[in-house]
Amino acid sequence: MNILIGGAAGQGMDTIAYLLGKALVREGYGVLTAKDYMSRVRGGHNFTKLRVESKTPFAPAEEIDILIALNEETYEIHRESVVTAGRIIFDSDMFALPEVEKRGVPVPLQTLAKEAGGKIMSNTVAVGAALSLMNTSTLQADELLREMFDEKTAAQNSAALAAGLKNVERDSCFSMPPATNTGKHLFLAGNEALGLSALASGCNFLSAYPMTPATGIMAYMAGKQDQLDIVVEQAEDEISAINMVLGASYAGARVMTCTSGGGFSLMVEGLSLAGMTETPVVIIIGMRPGPATGLPTRTEQGDLDFALHAGHGEFPRAILCATVLEDAFYRLNKAFDLAEKYQIPVLFLSDQNFGDTARSIEPYDFTNLRYNRHLVNVENLERPYLRYRYSRDGISPRALPGQFPGETVLSDSDEHDENGNIIENAVTRKNMMDKRLQKMVPLADEMDEPIIYGHDSGNILLLGWGSTYGALREAVDILQDEGLKVTLLQFTDIWPLPVAAVNKLLPQAKVSFCVENNATGQFAGLLRRETGLSTDHKVLKYDGRPFLAKEIIREVKKHV
């Protein structure tokens, strides 16, 4: 069951998607919502796709069963995607559908809303109408309204919901897939999962500058300041944001900043400072299409090369990425652990597709989270305390200023000696470079091999990384149903690149594809640099929109 809710910015599509989605989750369905919106506050054309299945889907679908058109433009743009047996709920107060259109379900949204208590509740009426078409009661939606609003507002919305439900005749409703989920499920967007993970990982300091599509992470964490003793500071720019988190990290906080490519450009100087001073920091880059302002509200995987090479000078770093809600929560936790264990910057790549897509999932298992600050304690502190003491694995003892009586912590962005004093002599410089870069060796052992999905060694091999996982997974399912042997390797840990699985499977495959949401095949380039291997084909999409399974299948079939 696929629903598309469309209208102009400001018409309340988010509310409809949230209310409808969450009500269906509580009914026991698996739900996914994906947002497509323009960079404007009012007007334009925005929509949210909502997919409802027995088990939670991984990606949105192309075809539409129910279209909720809050304005005429939505009908014009999406009518061809609505299946023949589909239904189009439209605001009959605003416009009429052409006579030839047989799928229309007129609902006077505004009139019904006014009767219930106010025009603003038009979107609640629409939810009622949609629930009716899905032969679902308003029980869960009513409960949600009571959780969201005060008593009076909830009652008015409830009336609006009932009016919408009554307006649509039940004999025209769809047969729904069985609702099989039991127990509580989370319904959350990628950005919320990342914020939640940061908090669960003990992150107590975030400084950032608002930038779509990463702002949701900051907003989520700022909203938790009433329950947690954390600092969420909006800096004057991204240069300040990264330096603030580095200062806080030096002083002992567990820190993170989040931004998009443009903001990360400003952070690059600070990234290098983190590299030189060996200050732990986690940086989420919520990618969107560039260059420059690009397409602010859309998606791309265009900043992998940038993340790999950002920063002047040579220093160790790790790069992880968000593939899917079930993994990203634990993956970001790993980023915090690596940052503090190795005293390095860890870059965490997300994108608009991941950040703005919400899905219903089983609750996270907090006992699977790692929490170790990797600080020295008094018992194992070697005197004199040397912040950059040489060691076999390159990791020096990290203490905090004021932590130990009689000890100070020296740090310097200039090259320094073991104590942190500025130096210029050649021998120390080389030793310090070797010490820092040595950390890449044990770090490489920490990298997880990619997620393997589908056939365990199929003759068709698909490679992906990050948020393309949902579409790729669905493509694999469909191709396998057609009798093809398809293996997907989806990378979650990108740098240092884990190569065992790909070294084994790529040479065996009859035909291979690297699938990326960018124009130049940046991951394919990385793979070649690190392994000497190349896929036969690249499937690249860079129109600002996420992949659909169908598009991947189309490309694969050209070569199979």
């Binding site: 009433d226 600092v231 906080a253 009586p405």
Partner: protein, 277 residues
Amino acid sequence: MTKTADIKPYLRLERYPTIWCAGCGNGQVVGAFLRAISTLDWDPKKVVVVSGIGCSSRASGYLNFNTMHTTHGRPLPFATGIKLANPELHVVVMAGDGDTTAIGGNHFIHAARRNIGITMIVFNNGTYGMTGGQCSPMTGHACKATTAPYGNLDTPFDICKLAEAAGATFVGRGITYAPVKLESLITEALKHKGFSVIDAVTQCPTYYGRLNKMGSPADMLTWQKEHVISLEKAASLPKHVIQDKIVTGVFVKDLRPEYTTLYRRLHEQCGEDDCHD
């Protein structure tokens, strides 16, 4: 006459001699700072000195506190992070006029706006010394620099007015010619709860002095002496008379809630009345 304090324990003497030129005023500012801090009952291990890049920012490398020598222009955001993460620490920022008003100008006004409990000592010599005497936003109009060989076209900032307008709650200016006054200004600034700024006017004989034919270091200090005027005196004089003077004293001494206190209050309030709706 104040008793000369023993400032040696605050210095990493093994790092001496300093990189500063003969006659440079940076040591005089650092001396005033150390004498000031010695009058306070502070645990030196709870003091963090954060500096930027440039001659004066090398000061942190000679000080026996927790120190962080950051990148050019960025000491204030770094220090803001430290103070927010651990408000128990005494955080002092030392930076030059280029660090503060050029590349770090945005950070400077926003630290003032936040009124965060940091003391900022600006070593203001009107030039970029370390890189060879280039122009700074504090270089006087028509003064010479290696990047303004025919005279600077710009008009410099007034750091104190800038700090005041941006919301700093303690603002003072002193000169290296009058180190005792400078010391007491810094003492007041260190004690102040909120963002405190000291515009410490100092001399760079090697570049600024030479390029502008100001003579020896002693001549430069004499120039200071001849051009200094107290805020009280300046108040009664017409604008054109004080135009090329160095006005010293305390410009702002205000009470406004300090930023980390506001954060603490937010957390306490939320804990009490459950602001979660």
